[in-house]
């Protein structure tokens, strides 16, 4: 099924495949960010149970890239199970809600530790994202605090809004550019070197994902 059908559907060539992961408290807007980035829409979704992922082909830094973006559940109850999905990620996006302070403090108390514990890529790039900047009047975390956190944990930083589209594209672009700058991450991600489930996989998912962008 795989070889014949993949040639049929003209599976697009790509230089690298990157696995990106979205983490953060429940309700900060991870699923909304993913939906905005991959389908350019915004709608209310059920709280994530388990995990969800979408694939998007992009051209960044002169390279053809296939991004597999994993959206995890922020619910505390699922946390140990969510750890399954950390493995192999080249980029991890830590999302908080700028209008809910505890979602920000939980990043250092909980999520940063989870990364240390479960991420299998020592050099994986981390990115801090403050979402829902459209609700400026309700802001509870200043931009400066975000910058400080990012400096302390050595990660990239951006504020964005899944609702108004502000900075969503940039957020993924910056993360990917940084990964492209990190040779140890490219080694695993290069399409030629490693057997990868995405390469020989049924192409339906790919087709669906790329068609909706």
């Amino acid at each position: 099924m795989d070889s014949s059908s993949s040639s049929l559907s003209q599976q697009p060539e790509f230089d690298y495949l990157f696995k990106l992961l979205l983490i953060g408290d429940s309700g900060v807007g991870k699923s909304s960010l993913l939906l905005r980035f991959t389908a350019d829409s915004f709608e209310d979704l059920s709280p994530t149970i388990g995990v969800d992922f979408k694939v998007k082909m992009v051209n960044i830094g002169g390279k053809k890239l296939k991004l597999a973006i994993w959206d995890t559940a922020g619910q505390e109850r699922f946390r140990t199970l969510t750890s399954s999905y950390y493995r192999g990620a080249q980029g991890i996006v830590m999302v908080y809600d700028v209008t809910r302070r505890e979602t920000f403090t939980n990043l250092s108390d909980i999520w940063a530790k989870e990364i240390d514990l479960y991420s299998t890529n020592q050099d994986c790039i981390k990115m801090l994202v403050g979402n829902k900047v459209d609700k400026e009047s309700e802001r509870a975390v200043t931009k400066k605090e975000g910058i400080e956190f990012a400096r302390e944990y050595g990660c990239l930083f951006l504020e964005c809004s899944a609702k108004t589209k502000v900075n969503v594209e940039q957020c993924f672009e910056e993360l990917v550019l940084k990964i492209l700058d990190t040779p140890s991450l490219l080694a695993d991600a290069s399409s030629g070197t490693k057997k990868n489930i995405f390469k020989q996989k049924q192409p339906e998912a790919d087709g669906a994902a790329s068609s909706c962008c």
């Binding site: 388990g50 192999g88 998912a205």
Partner: protein, 864 residues
């Protein structure tokens, strides 16, 4: 040559005149060139460094006189020596013996030691002297005489036009006269060289004296049980002597697995008395009785075993050597699909071959008994930032111990490992069937994903065994629902863990109860991976991934319903996901009833998955629910994994665990926290982490084996150094600064060896560095010389004096000298700096000896 035909030699005399003349001019030409060049240019021209001296260089030329070939060597120093520094280690014997700096040495070239007869040596020396004076050089020149074992020399030095210095040295190899064993006698010997008549003898002559004593610690007789029991007794100081074999490293962490040869064979202590002036022979006797503690300085030198620098295979037996064997086994692990194949595969092969020998069943039994003996390990896991990358099991866990035993099981070949593993798994199966707790496994509620998979599986199995045991217990007690007892008042409420403060149900004026919930199921790494792959495979098809999460959610909802029979979906959300409840109450929190608010937009969407699950969940307390983790099923899965494990997978994990555990064991050693050692240990972990990491990447097995063998090499260096550090530390426990300094000296000497290449570097250079002992450290150092027992001192005839705790020096070196005032007119031409304030050293004697070996070198300056 003249040994055989002395006549011929005499006959040759007829032609000598001219041959000697030619010879002299040849020497002269060479010396002029060397003089003109000076040290700097000579070094550029290829003068070689004299081994083991930092400052000394030598250039060599060969000369012919008739058929005789001579070699002439000019020794010179890179930088000038200060005065009175002859006791320094960087001093050549010739320099020390004769009080010279640079010198010429001329000797016939012959393979069989140097033999010169008197006339030849005298002629040779005068030729050199003539040549040197012709070119106005002040270099002292020496010629070896007699047979080499006597180390006898004659020498001469022009000191300007007026003075000449003559040198002579000889040795008494046995039967040293008693008189010359003592300082008094030696002093008289010196005086006799310039006091002409015996009547002058008592005349007071100011003699300068300095002395260097070398002591050697007695042998450490650790395992010499019967013969030297008394000696041992004195060493272990009233400890239990009956212990038959007391090894030096008995209480070191590695001793559980092997005993290392003590790399420190002993110490040499050098005590130096700086220059003093004596006028009477009697004073010498006092010096001989003086305590070594009166010496001006002490230096300590460790006598380090040759095995430290010997890299040949099999020379060092420790973790490193066994790890090397394990890596070999890993290399051959890909040869078969199943471990059983290695065990069975003996057909046609030479069974006695060391690569296939398996220790007898009795040994296997012993190992199994040790592995599975009851009693928990204390799990002193030293968390290390690299442990994640190394992916091993803790050293004292069941699998960690298995790996360590395997290292020392026979010669750790693949077949022996296979035999051991099969028995090991059989024992584990037995524990499982009998619901026996697994030994050496700490029961925890989580699985350590940073450990190797086998260890994770065993953690899982240990938990399953516990659960299975409690299931069995419940069954035997009967189907009595304990949790419902608590809620006897309310017949319908089940499985409540207590009231949630300030939370009332929406539809009834009742307190909200938090239910007991099930633990989230435990997962080993491969289960996580499986879930990941499942998620990848199902892709975007919502509802197919995350089945486990749904089960948990459903279980929570059931439990909540059971604990709150009148609750609605909104109540559950308020408890479980408060963020999805938008409260419309007053800000003061303590609002009235009913609480006002609504579900968040996303929770209230049509087709919300949560609500669907809520609708389907039956009210059931945890005790009546199906367990999220089926211990019987999961336990069987673990055993299936262990029983069908591929050899290569086993060996990979064994390699990781064995490296990590061995390093962890060594790392527990106390070595006084020497900084250099600590850094090396950290480096070892870093190197292991980066090498072992690629083992999980499953690249080419032969590439990896190469890397692993290099890692073994690095491991061996560090293991040896660590053992050395431990040995030095415990011997000099009361002088920590000194211990650390001595270790650092050796470390720096050893460092060039530490390349990561497989070829061993042969060490020609010897370790010679001595450390100065501080005043406050002398007590600690003298403790290295325990007073000999009656038995020992009886055996040895002490005859020299200068005892240290009853030990005689192994060598005593003395320099005597006298100086004479010289009038300015007398002393006109340029001479080297032998004169000090118009004083010139007229006689100098260097004596080096023990009670049965005496070597004396004399320098006499005269004006003729």
């Amino acid at each position: 040559m003249f040994d055989f035909c002395p006549q011929l030699e005499r006959f040759d005399d007829f032609t000598i005149a001219s041959s000697w003349e030619r010879f002299i001019s040849e020497i002269e030409a060479i010396c002029r060139q060397w003089l003109a060049d000076g040290p700097k240019i000579l070094m550029q021209k290829g003068a070689e460094s004299v081994p083991s001296f930092e400052n000394l260089y030598m250039i060599k030329r060969e000369l012919k006189r008739g058929k005789r070939v001579y070699s002439m060597e000019y020794h010179f120093m890179k930088s000038a020596k200060g005065k009175n520094t002859y006791w320094e280690d960087d001093t050549h014997t010739m320099q020390l013996s004769f009080g010279v700096d640079e010198f010429l040495m001329i000797a016939p070239l012959s393979a069989s030691g140097v033999v010169l007869d008197d006339p030849e040596s005298t002629k040779l020396l005068s030729s050199v002297a003539i040549a040197l004076s012709n070119c106005g050089s002040n270099w002292p020149a020496f010629v070896p005489v007699h047979d080499p074992s006597r180390k006898a020399y004659i020498g001469i030095q022009n000191l300007g036009t007026v003075f000449t210095r003559r040198f002579e040295a000889d040795r008494i190899g046995s039967q040293v006269p008693i008189r010359l064993m003592h300082l008094e006698g030696l002093h008289e010997l010196f005086l006799s060289k310039f006091v002409l008549s015996s009547t002058d003898f008592p005349a007071r002559v100011k003699v300068h004296f300095s002395m260097k004593l070398t002591y050697r610690t007695p042998e450490y007789d650790y395992d010499n049980e019967t013969l030297d029991s008394e000696a041992t007794e004195s060493l272990v100081e009233n400890e239990v002597v009956n212990h038959p074999k007391k090894q030096w490293d008995d209480d070191c962490p590695w001793a559980e697995w092997y005993s290392a040869e003590d790399p420190v064979k002993g110490f040499e202590l050098t005590a130096i008395w700086g220059e003093k002036t004596f006028e009477e022979t009697l004073e010498m006797a006092e010096v001989e009785n003086a305590s070594s503690f009166d010496a001006d300085s002490w230096f300590l030198y460790p006598v380090v075993s040759q095995y430290m620098v010997d890299d040949s295979i099999g020379k060092f037996v420790g973790f490193a050597s066994q790890l090397h064997l394990l890596v070999n086994a890993y290399e051959s692990s890909a040869e078969a699909q199943f471990l059983e194949d290695f065990v069975a595969d003996t057909s046609g092969q030479d069974n006695s071959k060391s690569t296939t020998t398996v220790p007898p069943p009795s040994v296997i039994d012993r190992v199994m008994k040790d592995l599975f003996k009851a009693g928990n390990s204390n799990f002193m896991e030293s968390e290390n930032k690299y442990s994640r990358a190394m992916r091993g099991a803790p050293a004292d866990s069941l699998f960690g111990q298995f790996c360590l035993h395997a290292l020392w099981f026979g010669n750790c070949n693949i077949r022996a490992i296979a035999v051991l593993w099969i028995d090991f798994v059989r024992e584990i199966r037995w524990c499982w069937e009998e619901s026996e707790r697994l030994p050496r496994m700490r029961i925890s509620s989580s699985i350590d994903l940073s450990s190797c998979l086998i260890h994770q599986k065993l953690q899982m199995l240990a938990i399953c065994i516990e659960r299975k045991k409690s299931l069995n217990r419940e069954k035997s007690v009967g189907h009595k629902d304990e949790t419902s007892n608590a809620a006897a008042a309310n017949k319908t409420r089940k499985g409540s863990a207590g009231v949630v403060p300030k939370m009332m149900l929406l539809n009834t004026f009742q307190e909200m109860h938090a239910p007991y919930t099930q633990d989230a199921p435990l997962m080993t790494e491969d289960m996580h991976e499986e879930r990941l792959h499942a998620a990848e495979a199902f892709g975007n098809a919502i509802g197919l991934s995350g089945q486990l999460e749904r089960d948990i959610l459903s279980s929570d909802m059931s439990a909540f319903k059971a604990a709150n029979p009148d609750a609605v979906f909104e109540d559950f959300i308020r408890w479980h996901s408060p963020g999805d409840w938008v409260s419309e109450d007053n800000a003061d929190g303590n609002s009235g009833w009913p609480p006002k608010g609504k579900l968040s937009q996303r929770m209230s969407e049509h087709g919300n998955v949560w609500r669907k699950i809520w609708n389907d969940a039956p009210p059931l307390p945890v005790s009546e629910q199906k367990s999220l983790l089926d211990p019987v099923r999961e336990g069987e899965k673990v055993l299936h994994y262990l029983e069908t494990l591929r050899p290569q997978q086993l060996l990979e994990q064994m390699v990781c665990t064995a490296f990590k555990s061995s390093a962890d064991i060594l790392n527990k050693t106390t070595y006084g926290a020497f900084k250099l050692m600590k850094t090396k240990m950290d480096q070892l972990y870093a190197t292991m982490a980066s090498t072992l990491k690629s083992l999980q990447g499953k690249s080419d097995i032969s590439d990896l084996a190469g890397d692993l063998k290099r890692l073994c090499q690095v491991f061996e260096h560090i293991e040896k150094l660590l053992i050395l550090a431990a040995s030095i530390h415990r011997k000099l426990i009361d002088a920590p600064r000194l211990a650390q300094a001595i270790f650092a000296d050796y470390f720096n000497y050893y460092l060039p060896k530490m390349g990561t290449t497989l070829e061993s570097i042969c060490y020609e250079k010897e370790f010679t560095t001595k450390q100065k002992v501080g005043m406050h450290e002398r007590d600690a150092v003298s403790n290295l010389f325990p007073p000999p027992t009656a038995n020992q001192s009886w055996r040895k005839v002490l005859s020299m004096g200068n005892l240290l705790n009853g030990h005689e020096p192994t060598q005593r070196e003395i320099i005597f000298s006298v100086q004479e005032r010289v009038s300015n007119g007398h002393y006109s031409s340029p001479t080297p700096l032998y004169a000090d304030n118009e004083q010139i050293q007229t006689h100098r004697m260097y004596i080096c000896g023990t009670s049965n070996d005496l070597w004396v070198a004399l320098s006499v300056t005269s004006w003729d």
